[in-house]
Symmetry: C2
Subunit: 411 residues, 2 copies
């Protein structure tokens, strides 16, 4: 039985994601699709547009059979930790394949790069540090380090591309876990990860779709060609209800915490380093919305993403003690099931007794530290536009009986 | 020169308060009226309806010459501490008289009660503790203790009346400070402190006025007969702008903090005792507005006021370390000037060099711990409906040139 894993955020799920699922299924001959998906807060340090429950619903409608939550401890971290947590979960749930989208589009450069790094790790680290100290960004420093070590970049993967970076860390994680998961990649088409313009009629980046959603009144209908109909329907409804989430909605809480917490308290927050927390505290007084606040705190030293992640941790009150260090490779302690198709449910029933980690279907009464953080993050997330949100303690996984004419079953 | 002091909250300033000022001026032959006024959060543990700056404006228009802020460290505490801080400030600013409204209406019972307590403090404390342990409220236990000691209640003040309690503590504070301030009292007329119905055409309690304001659309005009015209005008404008403050406006922040702070963090908050913080944390999950939340946490053991004060301290993140203990009698360390009439300004210019405490006219660049707490409380207060609020760091005292036909000057 082939079980293909994907790592996703679905913020929101669009035609590019459908293409990814379709290709994954075809390429791996998968009988089952498992998605590990970020919870309420995403890798770039921002609240998801839609709740994890709504995104689970979309994933199931798009053809995914099992949706597993990537815990906050991994989901809101840099690529290495994010990838490590996601791959470890796919390994635990029994995935046989992992397929990711990348700019590279073939797996060989990833494997070559990994091999070189395994052999030249120390030298590479030395040069990487040197180039980072020179003020280069992480991706840039990576490329420079390879050049200095004398490797031909053509056989290597370009680690200045965001999806290549993630992909590289997936491949690395599989190796480090000594997992038998077979890794494949497909070429991303037509939209760059960070593109903000909608250039193509059928596929656009999630970034561009989100920007369009918040900019124009008619956005969801305009976006119909770029997202599957079930996404458009959901976006239209939530936009009408004013329930699409944006950092701005959370800014009052962030500002409140920055104003009322002491410097000592803020220093306990994960990623609060080098007095950055003081700068945030000071600037919060003068700004009424997240974007102008961010522009005020941004310096060359810190990327927008790094600052957004810090803001996320301040918002959720996540301390250094709560989080995994960026260096360690601690494995997840639980599998939080968010949704399943009928096929997914059958698989889980067979697999249940073989799982090494507890399978969490409802969080009430459990007491796993990482899970407590997920619950707290979700409670924070639900503080805004929560008119019809069910409390996290009352949630059970979404069940989805797939109609026989579903998109993926036709392929 | 006679300088009469009053201790006020003006939430909002109404005809009863005008009557109090008029009587005070007549009875003490005052050349100058000084008001010590609570800042953004009040003695009953709630945000003021209007900002301290708007209330200062009303006080000046009503005839007050100097408005001094009662620091958060005193303003949000039980009667003893509240009264102590207020009287100590009046003493420092040079008040010769203090006049308060009370249910008793004459000063003799206050002095008698104080004399008895000075002599029988130990016995009284013993019986007070006993009756409190039996589950009686503080006022009730007080009355029972006097009875047990064999004193005729008729010559004593009834300490089950809220304004009598405050008055008693004013008298006590004057004695303890060995101040030469002469204390007088006037009978409160026509409205009980806690009355929620508007029974009289000209004087109603501030509680009743606030309730009417939040209940009916036309409230400010209906209330015109009960408040001076400058109050009605301000209430009308602020109501139209949706800028009247209510605990409900702050509840999202309170809930957010209860959800995201750990139990250990919450235990550091002032008045968080006996696991009360856990009860609050648990109930916050289920409630979307302050009143239903309060109803859910209320037990016989704790008064509504006690719980509201705890909520205020949680909201402002005020720790046990930040606050004065309820037992000590620490004196204020500064005089924060909020407003002055031309007469008030002349007095201050003469007096300035004689003052023992720093006179704070703007907070920027100062670093007094209690003052930092006042600033933080004001920043919290301004988190809602803050469209045209000036930042606390940019504020200077309100100056008011009194027109010659002002109400009090005609009397």
């Amino acid at each position: 039985m082939n079980i293909a894993g994907v790592v996703v955020e679905y913020n929101p799920l669009h035609n590019g994601h459908l293409y990814h699922l379709q290709k994954t299924k075809n390429q791996t001959h998968a009988d089952l699709l498992v998605a590990v998906m970020s919870g309420p807060f995403l890798q770039r340090g921002e609240p998801a547009l839609l709740s994890k429950w709504d995104r689970t619903r979309l994933a199931l409608q798009a053809g995914v059979d099992l949706v597993i939550e990537l815990p906050y401890q991994y989901a809101t971290q840099k690529a290495e930790v994010f990838a490590w947590g996601a791959v470890a979960l796919l390994h635990e749930i029994g995935a046989t394949h992992l397929c990711f989208g990348s700019e590279a589009g073939t797996i060989a450069p990833f494997l070559n790069t990994l091999e070189i790094l395994s052999e030249h790790q120390e030298d590479y680290n030395h040069w990487l540090k040197t180039y980072l100290a020179d003020g280069n960004s992480y991706p840039k420093a990576t490329a420079l380090a390879f050049n200095t070590l004398g490797f031909n970049m053509e056989s290597l993967v370009d680690l200045s591309q965001p999806n290549n970076i993630l992909g590289f860390h997936y491949v690395e994680a599989v190796q480090r876990l000594q997992s038998s998961i077979k890794v494949e990649t497909i070429q991303r088409i037509k939209a760059g990860y960070h593109d903000v313009e909608i250039a193509d009629q059928q596929i656009a980046s999630a970034t561009a779709i989100r920007q369009a959603l918040f900019q124009t009144e008619k956005a969801p209908t305009q976006l119909e060609g770029l997202t599957p109909p079930f996404t458009s329907r959901m976006l239209t409804t939530l936009k009408l209800q004013g329930r699409l989430r944006h950092w701005n909605d959370y800014y009052p809480y962030l500002k409140y915490r920055l104003l009322t917490d002491t410097r000592v308290q803020l220093q306990t927050i994960y990623e609060a380093e080098e007095g950055l927390e003081n700068r945030l505290k000071q600037k919060a007084q003068d700004h009424e919305n997240f974007h102008t606040f961010m522009s005020a705190i941004k310096t060359k030293r810190y990327t927008w993403t790094r600052l957004q992640r810090l803001c996320t941790h301040i918002l959720t009150g996540t301390t250094k003690k709560d989080m995994l260090s960026g260096q360690t490779r601690e494995r997840p302690k639980y599998i939080r099931l968010l949704g399943m198709s009928d096929t997914g449910q059958i698989y889980l029933n067979q697999q249940k007794k073989k799982l090494k980690l507890p399978l969490i279907t409802h969080v009430s009464g459990t007491s796993i530290p990482g899970l407590a953080l997920d619950i707290k993050a979700q409670e924070c997330y639900q503080l805004v536009h929560n008119a019809s949100d069910v409390h996290e303690y009352q949630r059970t996984p979404i069940r989805y009986d797939r109609p026989s004419d579903t998109f993926l079953n036709n392929n």
